[in-house]
Amino acid sequence: MTNTAEIIEPSEGHREVLESVVVRFAGDSGDGMQLTGSQFTQSTALAGNDLATFPDFPAEIRAPTGTTFGVSAFQINFGARRVMTAGDQPDVLVAMNSAALKVNIGNLRRGGLIILDSGTFKERDLRKAGYDANPLEDGTLDPYQVVEIDVSKMVVESVREFGLGTRDALRCKNMWLLGLVYWLYGRDRQPSIDWLNAKFKSKPEVAAANVAALNAGHAYGETVELPGEILGYTVGPAKIDSGLYRNVAGAEALAWGLAAGTQLAELPMFFGSYPITPASSLLHTLARLKQFGITTFQAEDEIAAVCAAIGASYAGQIGVTSSSGPGIALKTEAIGLAIMVELPLVIVNSQRAGPSTGMPTKTEQSDLYQAVYGRNADSPLVVLAANGPGDCFHTAIEAVRLATKFMTPVMLLTDGYIANASEPWMIPDFSSFEKFPVTQHTETEGFEPYNRDAETLARVWAVPGTPGLQHRVGGIEKDFTSGHISYDSENHQRMTDVRHAKIDGVANFIPEQTVDQGEAGGKLAIIGWGSTYGPISRAVSNMREQGRDVAHIHLRHIWPLPRNLGDLLSSYDTVICPEMNNGQLSTVLRAEYLIDVKPLTKVEGMPFKIREIEAAIEAALDA
């Protein structure tokens, strides 16, 4: 059986044209909201819009149905112009049940559109969602445009012929609503239909039911007059650079970047990891990329994961480990060992809200101190931060490059938002990337394990199996060249100094800091790092369109900082640093440059809103 879309000519003539829209799909954890969102994302990308997404889900896998703590959501911002964030406020809320309405209505734009399943507002549903009164009746929804449809009932009707039980039939509800939203924005259903047919290849009746639900939702939009004379909308294609595009999530791009890095370094990679939210998807992706010379190892704990990676580095591969803040804390002693024995190691931290377990599925940037300073003793390493999903690819390559060039651990910071969010990404031409083949030491003449490259101060990498280079390394302080145990006081000073100088010297091998928008020098610079890139970029461009003197600087290299950064920051009257923590980069910049960087902080488990940064810019310039 082939399931195809019924071709109904979209009534383009009546559609209202919009520049951009923010749609939020919300329902139970088990309602398939993330799948729905990713399907809508795909079709939106194919329609030529620029877009950004924000999957927002609870830590509970399947919380009790109909409760507020089980609500999962997927937000997408798409437009005919460049889209930098998943949107400050949804314009449209698609609520699969009453709990989803309750959780998400607060942030909806006043006057926004709500599409809800009125079949989930019975007394029992309302009690579970924590409503005292029925919001459909008590005026709660008056400030909004509301489309009430008994979707549950209609779905069951539309899939009746496939002989599914009510429970299974209701599982098609997300596709019914997706069909309606496809109609709303004039989207092509066929890619989703193809996807459903492929996904449920072994269960043709389930595939057929889902396709029928999708078509039914779409047909409903076509045929039934929606309240408020909604005739559908058109969001035109955005002007984006020409090239081949795809959607990519941060974790995926990071995995690909690591694979690419190992190809450029011409060395195999060993990835040791322990499951933790939101970092696990990196392990899942890499486990399927073994053909690129990648060994993946799910260790017994965080410590074993990093230690196995260090062991693999010692044996000549590129050791990589990954976790989130609490797991990085556990790895800390071993990272110190890697600093001491000067082996390459990439440590990925997908940051989440903390301290302790904190909010595992909520994003934050609060591990910057941990990355830069968070070890016992004087133990410098390199810290990088990716600024968005696609940038993870490039930053991962940079991490592998620096780790192998300098024989050092490199901490790569992403966060829960970057890891899960997806964006259209122009696929780079990999053949244009410069290789950085790593040579391991084989010459026995004059060999000492701590012989260093005069330029980079990196020590030689002599791996087991190489004849004549047998040597011992370890966590005890070592003699400057022989690597033998040394408690000599002058030697310790010298070793501490050289470890420090080596990392400082990395600044000579990374690009100078550029200004992302605006000019060097002026009234105000907004400096950011990591996933604040989107909102800062949009806020600064909006303000510049209004003629405001503001520039945007965004760091990829957090430690060491780019060699020109101090001078660059000094060229502005005011520097503001928005970050999703209590002011960590601000402190680092103040300490390094004695510049009065003003923090703009937020720790609500959510990315910054564009408006929040615009307000800070206005306040600073109007002061």
């Binding site: 081949l244 060994t295 990676a309 010692y314 780079p428 004849p467 011992r472 033998h484």
Partner: protein, 341 residues
Amino acid sequence: MNQQAPIAYKPKDFATDQEVRWCPGCGDYAILKGVQKTLAEIGTAPENVVFVSGIGCAARFPYYIETYGFHTIHGRAPAVATGVKLANPDLDVWLVSGDGDAMSIGGNHMMHLLRRNIDVNYLIFNNEIYGLTKGQYSPTSRLGTRSPSTPAGSIDAPVSACGLALGAGGRFVARGIDRGQKDLPGILKAAHAHKGASFVEILQNCIVYNDGVFDGVVDKSVAGEAQIHVKHGEPLRFGADNAKGLRFNAKAMRLEVVTVGEDGVSEDDIIVHDQTNLALAQMLAAMDRPDFPVAVGVIYDNPADVTYDQAVRAQNESAKVDAKITSIDQLLRSGATWQVD
């Protein structure tokens, strides 16, 4: 390819130029000698051998062996060794640890190394005390051990190293004695020959903080009665003139010590050691003085069909053969893409 004559190594080929810094009289000296002798007999080229250790007196071991060596952090040597072996399965990987390093701070890693069955040789120097931190009781210390941290005597039950190893799924478990130079190289060679994780507990005397703790087992005056040297296929006999032996009491489901020729006990009643029998291995490992002799030798040796490192290599190789996506360019273009003009 030219056939090269195998190089004959001598124990001193595995000695480094480093001054050995253990206390004079420490049992570790004897073990070092035994290991160097074993390595020479095994004959693997020194560049293909790696010693990995954690923290503690025993963990200084790699500095004194002329191979590759990695002195890591407390308890984590099994995890580091796992990475070394998976990165290069052709290396001979040895782990050196103590009772505190392996069974206290590193207990988790010991368990997982054994159950994964990674082909490394894991030596535990058990002196029933923390030496490097100056004499606190350890997880193998006997009940009532007085130490700086337990002035009134320790009150927690000790762990049995070999019992723990068997419980974790170890497929090679042996016990040796530091001064037992006659047995030790043979045990170590058997450990090396075993494909998979090999666990060897070595009873080691700490001359400073726990001197004589094993006297009841190793002292010449009692050794004959207090030790039983187990050998695959041979009856489990011990004592003066090998008069004593171990018999299985089926009714009570336990071992008992009997004397051949007394109470109607004949030679046929004595169990013949089968190193592939897990139930027997567990009983032998658990035997302790004064009721039983302490088992010395290869208690259990029952290799699996495939080791973890072999399986990892096989999966990696088959991924290369089966992969549909073989270049980064292909990878980046996999799934839905669209052209913007």
